[in-house]
Symmetry: C2
Subunit: 456 residues, 2 copies
């Protein structure tokens, strides 16, 4: 069956357009350590929107499932072909269709790596602000399809805020185009925002129009260390209360510092139980002013506060921050990491609740994330080979979802639901809202073939 | 029939909850001068979400159309009960449900006036950036339902960017709640953005959670006058090309200056054929720096450039800008005013095209608007009693829609389609995209009773 499918698709797309379904690179994403893998019926590598259209029509006519794939860096299993189907990998669609630096905009294909988008912008004095963890590997189409976040979402918003248009292929094989190189549009319904974060379940994003801004001339971090999460969260709220607008406002709790602290360039005070990492940006004088405001406000109840200034120190700091997730995973060989969002004044409650829930299930836990956005990666450290522990961690995760919902929060801020959290949307919305989600899915994908088993 | 309906609704909502359907305040909106009016079957004034739910269920059970109404300041006839139905006026739902200035957020009911939202924010040192024309009369729910813009959308984005959650009543009488006091959420589809700008055709927005930011300490305008729109548009592009980020970047063409210029506080040079009005904001030093950059870049090919500094002069300038629409209308007693969006580099083309189209239909025309966003209010000046002229203006407007679409633009940037432009979405999107709009409408409103005859 799989062989027949591959041969038929080869007839349609040519040899370059089809990869081996046995190639393990297409079987998993960043959830591989959690054991999520699947063997696709076929893997296609379309080189144009028209080829994507052809594939979708081909699959839709034959009731074959379609699993779109970007850089494969997702944390929710969104691109894993858990139940077979045709993986549509966008890597060959990586052209810059238009770049108008003087007009602050870019039109790029979905398979262009996000780091390339950022590099191109930077070389012209511009900034594409979204900076999700895996910018080097992840692709812009995948980032849009998951509405990826990152540390700088606090000031600049998530990926979707920078998208002014989307070209996508929808069922049964049609091109949808919404928005474009324009900055405002209220003529139709906002289908663009509906596709942003839809995780391939409504259509395959083939290109995006992006809005850029002039890059700030300077940026500088401030690091403050606290005895407790209560002290640290109070300091975070004090930043907002003081009217300071940092570019980023991150946190790491005690367990995270324990896991990652050794790799930190400077020794931490022994009582360190919480870290806040803020960044100021803007013109040089503005950045300097914000740094001293941050030092004052964050310093008030801190064990220590530092403002690394040399380029090398700053780069080392952010490299360390980027490595936190891996450091935490290394402690016990595996982790079940969540992506909870709560109103900012519930951040400390949620950090504490993560530890309590862990204790009640005999698990080790820690949290870190995007404090200013109330977005925490509450994480249970596990031995992936200990099935009983893994099961307990999954039960514990579900308790966190319920707690997030009870606080008026969300079970995902930037990773999406994918297959890992699918079916849990109901904890945070009522039956009528849930029914409407299903109706929207039905409107886009009546046969349910677009990335089935994901999100809803 | 109408009397029976009113009596039945009075039984459900009480006397305070029902107004007279003969009250002319509920028959029209800001399109009254274009002759758009309609008599509703009944007018209800619900005081709570539950009452809205009751009304929607009541209407949906009986196949009665529902016409939601905010401040009635729309330019597209969106709240006009053209074919009867029950007008649901939100004015009694004007409570502030929560305001947390230290956390930069607010939860308010739909009927709260936008000026109140802005005032509350300002009193706590915060800014709610959207500033559509009629902030004094318009309500926040209506602003969200039309995704209202305004001059400061250039830097701060349109209304939707500041909405983190929506409570709405959808068919057949259920409460939908999406988002809330949180800043990120990618768990479900972005139903929030779908409701933003949906003009009452998907549901009735009953409350919104808003994000705020610290108010900039200072702001200051720069006014530059040019001989031609070509010179002026080149200057506008030069601002972006220089990496300056103004808070607002507005334009007025020759015809607009002719209509409104007399009310301008200072004499304009006789050759004045185009004006750019920019605003800088930020800290005082930052504002000062941006003002001098703007003076330099805008001044290069200008006839003159000014930076009014006194509070009185600045207030007078913006008051004058706010009065432009009325001044243009006063010239001949009426106007057909559009809300075209084009990529910024097509702005001058579109301004010129507006004049050419007007000439070919023996009409007088002018344009002004939000230059930085490529959003122009292309306007035909008409005598509303001259039916032939009005007809010619409508034909001319349709030609502008086609031109906007040909430039990759939109037929509406901030007013919406309402009844004035309904049925024209097809000029800017393909049949598949249009079909999807209908499917989304169908998913929300299977009986087609929510603001029928509007938008689609």
């Amino acid at each position: 069956m799989s062989g027949t499918l591959e041969r038929s698709l080869r007839d349609v797309l040519g040899d370059d357009g089809v990869a081996s379904s046995e190639d393990r690179r297409f079987h998993s994403d960043a959830t591989e350590a959690e054991g999520l893998t699947g063997v696709p019926s076929a893997v296609v590598l379309p080189a144009s929107t028209q080829e994507v259209e052809t594939v979708v029509r081909w699959c839709y006519d034959r009731d074959v499932a379609i699993v779109p794939r970007g850089g494969g860096t997702g944390f929710a299993g969104g691109s894993v072909p858990l139940h077979g189907g045709v993986v549509v990998d966008l890597q060959r669609m990586s052209r810059v269709r238009a770049f108008d630096p003087l007009l602050w905009r870019m039109h790029v294909e979905a398979g262009l790596r996000t780091s390339e988008v950022r590099r191109l912008a930077r070389e012209s004095g511009l900034l594409f602000p979204p900076d999700p963890g895996a910018a080097e590997q992840s692709q812009i189409g995948g980032n849009v399809a998951t509405n990826a976040g990152g540390p700088h979402a606090f000031k600049y918003g998530v990926t979707g805020r920078w998208v002014t248009g989307i070209e996508a292929v929808i069922a049964p094989g049609e091109v949808l185009a919404t928005g474009g190189a324009i900055r405002k549009d209220v003529a139709g319904y906002d289908l663009k925002s509906l596709l942003v974060g839809s995780e391939g379940t409504l259509g395959i994003i083939t290109s995006v129009w992006l809005r850029l801004i002039p890059a700030p001339a300077a940026s500088a971090p401030v690091v403050a260390v606290y005895r407790s999460s209560a002290d640290g969260c109070a300091a975070i709220e004090a930043v907002l209360g003081s009217g300071i607008v940092p570019a980023a406002l991150e946190f790491l709790d005690a367990g995270t510092l324990q896991a990652a602290g050794a790799a930190y360039a400077l020794p931490l005070p022994p009582e360190a139980g919480f870290m806040v990492l803020a960044e100021a940006d803007g013109s040089q004088p503005e950045t300097d002013a914000t740094v001293s405001e941050l030092r004052a406000v964050l310093g008030e109840h801190a064990l220590e506060v530092r403002a690394p200034a040399s380029a090398a120190d700053v780069a080392a700091l952010w490299r360390w921050r980027d490595g936190v997730s891996l450091a935490v995973e290394a402690v016990r060989g595996g982790k079940i990491s969540e992506d909870i969002v709560v109103p900012l004044d519930r951040l400390d409650d949620m950090i504490e609740a993560t530890l309590e829930v862990a204790r009640s299930h005999r698990l080790q836990a820690c949290s870190w994330g995007h404090a200013g956005d109330g977005n925490l990666h509450s994480t249970f450290l596990i031995d992936p080979h200990d099935q009983a522990e893994v099961s307990r961690a999954h039960v514990a995760a579900r308790e966190l979802y319920a707690l997030a919902a009870a606080h008026g929060g969300s079970i995902s801020g930037e990773h999406g639901l994918g297959s890992v959290k699918r079916g849990h949307l109901g904890v945070q919305c009522n039956p009528a809202t849930l029914a409407l989600h299903r109706a929207v899915k039905q409107a886009f994908d009546p046969k349910g073939l677009m990335n089935p088993g994901k999100k809803l």
